[in-house]
Amino acid sequence: MFAFAVGDSLVALDAVKIDTTDQARILRGGQHFQQTCLSCHSLVDFVNDPVAKELGLSKEQMPVWPEDSWNGHPPPDLSLIALSMSPDWLFTYLRTYYVDKARPTGYNNLVYPNTNMPNPFVDMQGHQVLINPNYFDKNHAHGEQFWYRVIKLKETGRLSPAEFDDYVDDIVQFLTYVSDPSVHARRQIGPWVLGYLTLFIMVTYAYFRLVGKDYFQSPKSPPPH
């Protein structure tokens, strides 16, 4: 119902199912993050979190980029990326790099056209190539086309496509947790608070029904004041 555009994606976003209870998966995603992303991206707000402690993430490991590095586009901090973009966006974005000789990095992206980020997964995913170059003329700025109708895996990397999807999924699960670690506490406290309120509503409503009888179901009694 509420479809809010994030970025200027040309393709429809794949839905990713976020499971905040799968602690093992969040940790696995964190390890993938350390291998693949941490060399450029920091998670400044996350360093004191218990999960960061478990992963051995510390403030000293976080890269710090001057404003003018990378031609004025330093890699952003990713502490809140899953909230400012969305898990779906991340999941699709990270998997839709394709070979484009016109870009300085050699790769372009369908979800985030002309992204400055080099393809981080070349050795794992392999190369994807454009199979439908006319796509850009016809479907400009419409997030309707499916990315797999536009690009195709030409050369498989170290991981099979299914393994690679899992790998990226893990990272997305991790980043989603990073963006709001309160989710554990919320899920824990939530049922208690709501249960308490339900009970309270029932008791006070029953009491109100009794009070109501004084006024409206016994016309013989005088108005009480």
């Binding site: 555009a5 400012s84 309160s182 919320r186 309120l197 339900t198 509503i201 109100f208 109501g212 004041h225």
Partner: protein
């Protein structure tokens, strides 16, 4: 945690059971400072029309919402830092490092949206049952002022997290003042305290949010209730209950506010809290409607987000602004969309209050203005292109036509006969 909860609960229970033994002390104080009798007069003995329905709970809910914002707000200020460098990260400090900081912050961010929900329903109830009509004109006007203050409070608060939307929304709204002839640009610089929206602006917004508007709101709510209790509540039938009183001067169609209405509204308040906490615990961003995705990005004066949209509760006014292809006129009409409501008591010429006894013309007018307002709210969140723009122009026309047509419609409308007493159900 659970044990401390039980102990505290037990302690409060004991206190409540011991308090009645100190009645003498209360009477002693009350003779010198009539605080208790004041509270009793207004919360207990207040004669409320016996047919007040669920729509009348929204006033009480608005007070609850206000209290929630004040308490959570005081707690947030303990860690929030109103500087351009620190604001964004201090919010993250609250969210991640401070014990239960996330709860306090989500309560505050959810609270503002639900406060507006409640207030809009409260206003709609006033329109539906004619609560603005004599002798409640000032009461209605104080409500319009309150809405305006609430919007100012919400807007200044929205700027504080200093995300992308905070920054650009504050820029857009402040720029509206530049449409004032001659001195507009100087006023903008004066408001910003800088040549551009900056940390200086943030700091003064903080002052207005935390001390300025919030205390005006408290004072205005107090006046609102004083006015209500001096003229008495309207009711769904729009019948004047003061016409028929018993020997002791008690209105025959009234019951004391306590216990009947207090007990009627407490489950509703709890139901409100239930909805409130479902959002806080399970959907705190409410699909990007209560906390916008773009605002999780630090303010950047060099990059404008692709789609600037206001918070949902301000979007109707924003849609009006955008639909008028002239800067000054747009800003003026945006202002008028609220100011015109001040004159409603004199624009509506019908002697009948409640829509229950009004004719089809008045009813249509009400449905039109409410419908166009809701439509504008939806359109204000969409990009102003193509059909969206056409529709928002139509909705703007419909919205303002209400103020032109209501004197005529209400004058010629065929109203029904209003009963003398509140009819038995």
């Amino acid at each position: 945690m659970f044990i401390s909860l039980l102990i505290t609960g037990f302690a409060i229970f004991v206190v409540l059971n011991v308090l009645p033994y100190f009645k003498g002390v209360g009477a002693w104080i009350d003779r010198r400072l009539p605080i208790f009798s004041f509270l009793l007069d207004h919360l207990s003995y207040y004669p409320a029309p016996k047919n007040l329905n669920i729509w009348y709970a929204f006033g009480a809910l608005a007070m609850v919402a206000c209290a929630i914002q004040f308490i959570s707000g005081i707690w947030l200020v303990m860690y929030y830092t109103p500087t351009a460098e620190q604001a964004f990260s201090s919010v993250q400090l609250i969210m991640r490092e401070v014990p239960y900081g996330w709860l306090v912050r989500y309560v505050h961010s959810t609270g503002v949206s639900l406060w507006f929900v409640v207030v809009y329903f409260h206003i709609f109830r006033g329109l539906m049952y004619g609560s603005y009509k004599t002798p409640r004109e000032l009461l209605w006007m104080s409500g319009v002022v309150l809405l305006f203050l609430l919007m100012a409070e919400a807007y200044t608060g929205y700027v504080l997290p200093w995300g992308q939307m905070s920054f650009w929304a504050s820029k857009v709204i402040i720029s509206l003042f530049s449409s004032i002839p001659v001195v507009g640009n100087d006023i903008v610089v004066w408001l910003q305290g800088d040549y551009e929206v900056s940390g200086v602006t943030l700091h003064r917004f903080f002052a207005f949010h935390v001390v300025g508007f919030s205390f005006l709101i408290l004072a205005m709510i107090f006046l609102h209730i004083i006015m209500l209790h001096s003229v008495g509540s309207n009711n769904p039938d729009g019948v004047d209950i003061m016409k028929h009183k018993d020997r002791n001067g008690w209105p025959l169609d009234a019951v004391p506010y306590y216990p009947y209405f207090v007990m009627k509204y407490i489950p509703i308040i709890l139901l409100y809290l239930f909805v409130f906490f479902v959002i806080v615990f399970y959907a705190p961003t409410f699909f990007g409607l209560f906390l916008e995705a773009e605002n999780f990005e630090r303010a950047n004066p060099l990059v404008t987000p692709l789609h600037i949209k206001p918070s949902w509760y301000l979007s109707p006014y924003y849609a009006i602004l955008r639909s008028i292809p002239d800067k000054s006129l747009g800003a003026l009409m945006m202002l008028m969309s609220i100011v015109l409501w001040l004159f409603l008591p004199w624009l509506d010429l019908s002697p009948v209050r409640s829509m229950r006894y009004r004719g089809w013309m008045s009813r249509t007018a009400l449905i039109t203005v409410v419908g166009s307002f809701v439509l504008l709210g939806y359109l204000g969140l969409q990009p102003a292109v193509g059909w969206y723009l056409v529709m928002s122009r139509v909705a703007t026309l419909l919205y303002f036509s209400f103020f032109l047509l209501i004197p005529i419609l209400s004058y010629y409308d065929q109203d029904y006969v209003v009963p003398d007493r509140i009819p038995e159900r």
